[in-house]
Assembly symmetry: C2
Homo-oligomer: 277 residues x 2
Amino acid sequence: MSDLIASWVDGVPGASIPVDDRGLHYGDGVFETILVRERVPRFLDAHLDRLRRGLAALAIDFPAADTLRAEIAQAAALAPPLAILKIIVTRGSAVQRGYRPSREERARRIVTLWPTAPLDRSLALQGVELAISPLPLPGYSPFAGLKHLNRLENVLASVQGGIGNTFESLMLSAAGQVISGISSNVFVVRAGGVLTPPVDRVGVAGVMRQIVLREAPRLGIVALEQGLTLDELRAADGMFITNARIGVVPVRRVGEHVFGMTEIVTRLRNAIEPLDA
Amino acid sequence: MSDLIASWVDGVPGASIPVDDRGLHYGDGVFETILVRERVPRFLDAHLDRLRRGLAALAIDFPAADTLRAEIAQAAALAPPLAILKIIVTRGSAVQRGYRPSREERARRIVTLWPTAPLDRSLALQGVELAISPLPLPGYSPFAGLKHLNRLENVLASVQGGIGNTFESLMLSAAGQVISGISSNVFVVRAGGVLTPPVDRVGVAGVMRQIVLREAPRLGIVALEQGLTLDELRAADGMFITNARIGVVPVRRVGEHVFGMTEIVTRLRNAIEPLDA
């Protein structure tokens, strides 16, 4: 029914998982969305590192990290020129019904290969437009930073009104703090440096966000994690969003506010994942 | 691997679902845990009503409500004397990757039948003991009240330390408000009436909670929804928890605090789901 290209469960080609998987029942697991370009998984070490940290935070034992890396290489070899590998690791099948794991579950690896298209070149150069999600979100999660499978906030923000023809929506906490885009992290350009909201209380520690925070100083650009209200965001010199699929993309409008283009975004993109890569 | 007795997917006997199901990827769905006693699903209308409301809140189109009711009846007919029917309805297989539904997904029904044991009679009479979860939770969710598939908070509260030999843990918000038990709703007895925290900002609107709120007034017991701190809970005359599996069960200890037994709990239990039913 979907546009899935291929899938493997615990290394075996297959398109189904048991109905007793705790990923289905509770969202008890984590995932990674990895861009595959010319059959090479991009930023694989960063993805696998975050996966490992997420599993540790959820107390999911995962001895198969090396096996998963080999499976990713095999899957990437079958990919079209541009594709997404989505990796899910769940706590596995329930040993018994109920929230509390028995500690005898065995983590399950689900590798899925999906088509993707490059971001339209004019959007990548001139910037995307974002709506502002009307869904107020909590400003705190005990799982802040993790890319876990409890993603109803993102789903519901994406079905609420106002997105229209925009690229996606900006998500805000009930207290008015900028959290992220529905599927991206958010940066603003201010005083020649870049700022992004911290992810220690809410949000996802995106791999591309981490790459920007690492690469910016190498380009002489100050990069900080700092909370942002919507007003503070609007007062910035520029804005961009990041994720593993699209890389670094300028934002030209949020709601009714129009941003100017800044050279910093182009410099970061060219250093990390150039348009013609 | 699990103790699952039987399962059906969209009415067909089977123990697997497609890897592209949005319930797995995002927790994009809802569930019900229904007690089946002597092959009769208990409080079925209340469960199906909540399921319907949850699906509507998540904007999941579900034309198969009558079909599901028939499937539940067929599954219950195969149940041992005491069993649990867990019903999951997801948005279905993804039409394309990404949070945003295409609106062309078709909801998937997953009916699973599990063994369960009656609560130990001495616990049911003398009360259970609860630990206090050390995991501070958000005091607000945009999905408050819904029994959705994003249940990592419950899972993590159940793996954190301190539960020991207790029945389960009491979950608190970061601001110190009582939310619920990990798999139960919480009531206190005060001044001859009963109080339970509201579920409009956080928590799950449990079916047994709703039955208690409905039945108490018929017994001349005032029942109110009101926020509770841990101190206010300890100051109460008594305490009980409710869920579809165990019914109405007194609590004799929370952390270090010991509660007395109150006649109200026995009266409510006998009116709703007597021990010898």
